[in-house]
């Protein structure tokens, strides 16, 4: 059986703790994801998708519960530890691409490697290979503002793969793209998934996109209300 890459147990996330307005965004979320899975998390806005993504991506700490990422407990981590974990274990892909302005495509892809302390030569070589993988090698010296939305997202995917993280975390990656470009980006995810067997977590409110993944988790009012495999590929594990 594949390794448990994400294991969440009874995760709570509350805001305004101790005040009359205390908000319970996530309520006793338990979720296990195995290495190589391609799953989607869907739910209406306000359901806690984004907060769940923040916790999966180690951008935020849960109020209660335990979260093991790639076998490592995250509850006792310092801010620097969290930065290092994000750098090496997670590849973020955002709806708005979030490429660094005034840095060309190559520099953008190199950035996570720079933070990981990879040498300049190796950075450039690897970044070029990744841009080739996403079909953007011929535009590696273009600034973000010289690229179309689809091209930006492809560069962002290359950047997410820079440090070869086990998990890709994509937040509405096609949300800002037209349907044709969006499909091309989804195809790229499928390609990455089938070639590198990375765990891909797709956060979306689009059921069509979710249907392309192997497993759909539905979130509502901070709780997982549904967790089922799609027809695509057998998923062995259900939420506990």
């Amino acid at each position: 059986m594949a390794r448990e890459i994400i294991k969440m147990t009874d995760i709570d996330k509350n805001y305004f703790i101790g005040t009359p307005n205390e908000l319970h965004i996530l309520k006793k979320i338990s979720l296990t994801v195995h290495e190589g899975e391609f799953l989607s998390i869907i739910g209406p806005s306000g359901s806690g998708k984004s907060t769940l993504m923040d916790i999966i991506g180690v951008l935020d700490r849960p109020t209660a519960g335990t979260y093991m990422l790639d076998g490592m407990p995250t509850s006792q981590m310092t801010d620097n530890d969290m930065s290092d974990i994000r750098n090496k274990k997670i590849g973020f892909i955002f709806q708005t691409f979030n490429l660094i302005p005034r840095n060309d495509a190559l520099k953008n892809v190199e950035l996570p490697m720079l933070y990981a302390g990879v040498g300049a030569k190796e950075r450039a070589e690897r970044a070029q290979r990744l841009l080739e993988l996403v079909g953007m090698k011929d535009r590696m010296h273009h600034q973000p503002n010289e690229l179309s939305g689809g091209q930006k997202q492809r560069v962002a995917i290359a950047r997410a793969l820079a440090n070869d993280p086990p998990v890709l975390l994509a937040d509405e990656p096609t949300g800002a793209l037209d349907s044709v470009t969006g499909h091309m980006v989804m195809d790229l995810f499928h390609k990455v998934h089938s070639e590198s067997h990375k765990t891909i977590v797709l956060i979306t409110h689009n059921p069509e996109l979710a249907a392309e993944t192997e497993r759909i988790i539905t979130l509502k009012d901070g709780k997982i209300t549904d967790d089922r495999p799609t027809g695509g590929k057998a998923v062995s594990q259900q939420c506990s």
Binding site: S83, N87, R102
Partner: protein, 421 residues
């Protein structure tokens, strides 16, 4: 941390916002520029004054009769002040007694009796002069350099001879080339007094540092030396308001100067209005440097204000930059940048702004200094320590005023920063 990347990032950022970058730097440019300009001009002036003073000689002491209420600076000296009477001045007897008393220290005493400004004329040829009656020792004390003939001698004085020592400038003004001026007669006109003198010597004229630069080469006024005994016939006063002396030893003029002051203060104890004050190279230098020091302090205060304002400008624009780039900061954090990396990035950017501003300021300052020194005709003395200090100081401003915005950037919550609209 990632210094090279941060520098190129900062430069790219500045380039994409040229106008804003320039305006941000302006405060630093003005601050550093004014410091460099003033210090450079000040150095030029100091060098020139020092040069002029050392021409006087380290072992020369000047003794003036000065009003008691004047402040103790050389600038307040009024030689032969308005209402100074003959009895307030130093007599020949007093000088002789003084010379005898300090014969071990004094090498010689130079006396002079100024008659005022006038002209030497011969048809259409003329030369501006200042007629000065002097004693033979004056040459030695005042460092007059002879180029031809001899200086005045005791027998000229004793016999009241109408002889003159003139400058080479006067010779070139008055005579055709290759004419030997020796033995030639010149008619001197000073304050209505008109007499003919025979030239016995020519001295080498050295451009007077303190003289005005306005007069043309031809109109330059030079000293014409005549026997002091002859000058006294024409002067209102027989006594001296001023004399020069040369000490035997090259050092210790400061100490000797004090002895002179106490010697003459006894003589002038009974005089209500006047006293004697001696000046030597050392205390003239200290006067000059204290004046320069005061000016420098005033300028430093102005520059400090300019730099403070400039630094606040840098801080302001860095805070704007942090806000504008909140999303970028969030992205960088999501990609694994530690807080310290973000802090370093923004700190480097602030330092780069200040360093570039400082560098432009140095260039502007040197340019201003160059214009300034050309106008007041002194040498351009560029001081490496001042430039290094300016570079260092602009860097410090960058660090000081960049730290808060950088810290603010580094402490942004990645979640809020990522979703910042």
């Amino acid at each position: 941390m990632f210094l090279k990347e941060n520098i190129s990032l900062a430069l790219a950022g500045l380039k994409s916002n040229k106008m804003r970058s320039f305006l941000t730097m302006l405060g630093i440019i003005i601050g550093i520029g004014s410091v460099i300009a003033i210090v450079t001009i000040g150095n030029g002036v100091t060098a020139k004054v020092t040069d002029a003073l050392s021409n006087i000689g380290a072992n020369v002491i000047q003794v003036y009769v000065t009003p008691r209420d004047a402040k103790n600076t050389t600038t307040d000296i009024t030689v032969g002040g308005n209402n100074m009477s003959n009895s307030d001045m130093i007599t020949d007897d007093q000088i002789n007694a003084f010379h005898k008393r300090f014969s071990g220290e004094i090498s010689c005493i130079g006396l002079q009796e100024g008659l005022g400004d006038g002209k030497v004329e011969n048809g259409h040829r003329y030369s501006n002069i200042t007629a000065v009656g002097v004693n033979p020792e004056y040459k030695d004390v005042s460092n007059v350099k002879m180029s031809k003939g001899r200086f005045l001698m005791n027998r000229d004085i004793d016999a009241n001879r109408r002889v003159a020592v003139v400058s080479d400038k006067l010779v070139s003004n008055m005579f055709r080339k290759n004419t030997d001026p020796m033995g030639k007669e010149v008619s001197i006109e000073v304050n209505g007094w008109d007499e003919t003198f025979t030239i016995v010597g020519v001295y080498k004229y050295e451009h007077n540092t303190f003289g005005g630069a306005a007069a043309s080469q031809k109109d330059t006024r030079t000293s014409l030396y005549i026997p002091i005994s002859v000058a006294k016939e024409q002067a209102n006063f027989q006594n001296y308001s001023y004399f020069l002396l040369k000490t035997k030893s090259l050092s210790g003029s400061q100490v000797f100067s004090k002895k002179i002051d106490s010697y003459f203060s006894k003589i002038y104890a009974g005089n209500q209005n006047y006293t004697c004050q001696s000046y030597n190279m050392e205390n003239m230098m200290s006067t000059v440097s204290s004046v320069m020091g005061t000016i420098s302090k005033a300028i430093a205060a102005i520059a400090a204000i300019a730099l403070l304002v400039g630094g606040i400008g840098v801080m302001n624009i860095m805070l704007v930059s942090v806000t504008e780039r909140t999303r970028e900061i969030g992205t960088r954090k999501a990609l694994g940048a530690r807080s310290s990396y973000i802090r370093a990035q923004f700190l480097v950017e602030a330092v780069i702004i200040c360093l570039i501003g400082g560098a432009i300021g140095i260039l502007v300052g040197i340019l201003l200094a160059w214009i300034g020194v050309t106008m007041i005709k002194v040498k351009l003395v560029i001081s490496a320590p001042v430039i290094l200090f300016s570079v260092g100081f602009s860097m410090l401003i960058g660090i000081f005023f960049g730290y808060y915005p950088a810290k603010k950037a580094s402490q942004l919550d990645p979640i809020d920063a990522l979703r910042y609209e």
